[in-house]
């Protein structure tokens, strides 16, 4: 009896969370999945059950090119944010001794987040443009005699903006992992004759892995679904999966957009699963 009661009350206690998940996650997701099987023409969507959206999507070479391009952005952004994020987190966790300074510098890292993504992206344009600050400076210094074209409206610009936007997503979880590393482990490594680099390789990196995994999930999922950075920073010259979906919505091809979204979701979930297979993040939660 008591068991029954406690079971019922547990269900009761989880119901608000379940309700929120149902309304804001399960229902929209199911809608997208359902709509992805619908038909459409120029100005209508028609309830149906067809596989044409998927067969067209997966059969088109454009899709594969776009995916390849998106993977390229994700991989490059991941690589750079990991490198920068790990370094910043390492500096904060192990070289800044006082807690006050750790907090201050950590706050400094978050300052860019006080403005919106779009503003931060747009602010690159006058800096990187053909007649922008950087090109003027380089030409003024006589380092180049023609403006560098690759700086803006290019893959370089997209990755640069992504790195700028998302590095903090790497810093935070890695820093968190590092703060959990018992400082005596580092002394123990030194005591056993490990150099600074060996301590990093044998002790700090392995123990920061959960943070690295969480940061990687953040960065990769965000970049995989991004469309605004790609649109703004590539000047419409590159595409990503997110941008493709956004364009399809723009021309009211909802079923096609839904199918794209489902495929993207599956792709991202596969990546996340692979990451979780490699690293046990439960200790961090």
């Amino acid at each position: 009896m008591a068991f029954d009661m406690s079971k019922r009350s547990s269900y009761f206690l989880i119901s608000p969370m379940a309700l929120i998940f149902a309304i804001f996650l399960v229902v929209p997701l199911l809608t997208i999945v359902i709509v992805s099987f619908w038909d459409y023409d120029e100005y209508r969507i028609l309830p149906d059950f067809i596989f044409e959206n998927y067969s067209y999507l997966l059969g088109s070479s454009v899709t594969w090119k776009i995916y390849l391009n998106t993977f390229k952005y994700a991989a490059l952004t991941w690589g750079f944010t990991l490198l920068i994020g790990f370094t910043v987190a390492y500096f904060l966790a192990f070289h800044v001794r006082s807690l006050t300074w750790q907090i201050v510098l950590f706050m400094v890292c978050t300052i860019p987040f006080w403005t919106s993504n779009i503003i931060r992206m747009i602010s690159w344009i006058p800096f990187l443009g053909r007649n922008g600050l950087l090109n003027s400076a380089l030409m003024g210094l006589g380092i180049v005699d023609q403006p560098l074209e690759f700086l803006l409206f290019s893959d370089f610009a997209v990755v640069l903006a992504d790195v700028h936007l998302y590095t903090l997503f790497m810093v935070v979880p890695i820093f968190n992992s590092m703060m959990r590393i018992d400082r005596s482990l580092i002394e123990a490594a030194r005591d056993a004759g490990a150099s600074g680099f060996e301590t990093l390789r044998q002790v700090i990196v392995p123990l920061s892995k959960p943070g690295i995994a969480i940061g990687s999930i953040f960065v990769i999922t965000v970049v995989m679904g991004d469309f605004i950075t790609v649109r703004l920073m590539s000047g419409g010259q590159s595409a990503s999966v997110g941008l493709q979906i956004s364009n399809e919505i723009g021309v009211l091809q909802y079923p096609a957009a839904a199918a794209s979204a489902v495929v993207l979701l599956i792709t991202v979930l596969l990546i996340v699963t692979a990451l979780l297979r490699m690293v046990d993040i439960r200790k961090e939660l």
Binding site: S184, A188, A189, R190, D191, G193, Q202, L207
Partner: protein
């Protein structure tokens, strides 16, 4: 790296900004000795250990290990190894990997280091746990792994930071025996920081008592326990009652404190001046209770009332209060107590043989 493990600290100090943690201490530990640094928390014992280990920079002074000045050298070049208080085992490595870590850092090839790590695991009776991760082990087992990891590089000095404090009392006694056995087998110098007197007395060849960043007394456990140099050491090591009196007569044959029937004799203590206050100690087990003091305990007696009788198994602890409110403690073996039981509120004469008195500086 297996050199001579003699340690010498010459005027070694440690400052943190304006605070001084260790004040110009001098200490010689012969090779192969078991030395315990003991003192209340904040006395500088751990800082001293960490300076010997090379994990704390020595602000002033020199550190010699095996007659080599190692003041500026990193831990591994000193021939020391440290066992950390919380063991500091690498949580992501198996016991085998933990133990072999030092060899790996030395560049020893995998087959050899596995072989040597196995031997070391066997030495601490942990060979069955080679593939476990530290979090799958009990506290005592973790400690053995930490010990094996520290010893794998064949250091000439092993430094132990409160190694037994995290263990339950039963395990603590067992690990204590094991530490002593291991030290004797290996013949290397052990320096052990502790705040537990029983540990220091049981393990050490040399006990070093520290307070406020200085060494208050160093010597064999018997010396420290029986002949504490100051009130602080007598209180800290325990087992002593401290009495006080004003010198009324002093000659090379001895000194007399106070006058009349309550006077105390300190035989053999001659360098006192009349009128100065002196403190002396009597061990808790060397005080007796009776209706009156026997002839040889004249000048070593005081009337008391029993306030507490505590049965401790092998021992019975008796607390008695003198007329002026001072508490003295007596330890009687259970059989002694049974021959002459006392009860609360009973009045007795507490007495001792004057030659058992030890004068404090």
């Amino acid at each position: 790296m297996k050199g001579n493990g003699a340690i010498e600290l010459i005027a070694v100090s440690k400052h943190y900004g304006s605070t001084i943690a260790v004040k110009s201490i001098n200490l010689k530990i012969p090779a192969g000795a078991y030395c315990c640094l003991i003192g209340p928390s904040g006395c500088g014992k751990t800082t001293t250990l960490r300076m010997i280990a090379g994990h704390e920079v020595i602000s002033e002074g020199d550190l010699l290990i095996g007659n080599r000045n190692v003041t500026e050298l990193p831990p591994v070049k000193r021939g020391t190894a440290m066992m950390f208080q919380n063991y500091a085992l690498f949580p992501h490595m198996t016991c085998m990997e933990n133990v072999a870590f030092g060899l790996r850092m030395q560049g020893v090839a995998a087959p050899e280091r596995t072989e040597r790590a196995k031997e070391m695991l066997a030495r601490v009776h942990m060979e069955k746990f080679a593939d476990r991760k530290p979090d799958q082990l009990s506290g005592g087992q973790q400690q053995r792994i930490a010990l094996a990891r520290a010893l794998i590089t064949q250091p000439s000095v092993l430094l132990l930071d409160e190694p037994l404090s995290a263990l339950d009392p039963f395990l603590r006694a067992r690990m204590r025996d094991e530490l002593r056995r291991l030290q004797q087998e290996l013949g290397i110098t052990f320096v052990h920081v502790t705040h537990a007197q029983d540990e220091a007395l049981a393990l050490s060849d040399i006990v070093v008592v520290m307070e406020d960043g200085v060494i208050r007394q160093q010597g064999t456990p018997e010396e420290i326990f029986n002949k504490p140099r100051s009130r602080f050491i007598a209180n800290f090591m325990g087992g002593q009652n401290i009495f006080k009196g004003t010198v009324s007569e002093s000659s090379p044959a001895g000194t007399l404190l106070g006058r009349g029937p309550d006077s105390f004799l300190l035989p053999g203590y001659g360098n006192a001046t009349t009128g100065e206050d002196l403190e002396f100690t009597i061990r808790t087990d060397l005080i007796s209770l009776g209706e009156q003091a026997p002839g040889d305990a004249k000048n070593g007696q005081i009337p008391v009332e029993i306030t507490t009788v505590e049965y401790l198994g092998l021992w019975v602890r008796i607390v008695a209060t003198t007329d002026d409110g001072k508490e003295i403690t007596l330890m009687k073996t259970e059989s002694e107590f049974r021959q002459a039981p006392v009860r609360r509120k009973e009045k007795f004469i507490a007495y001792w043989k004057p030659e058992h008195a030890h004068v404090l500086a």
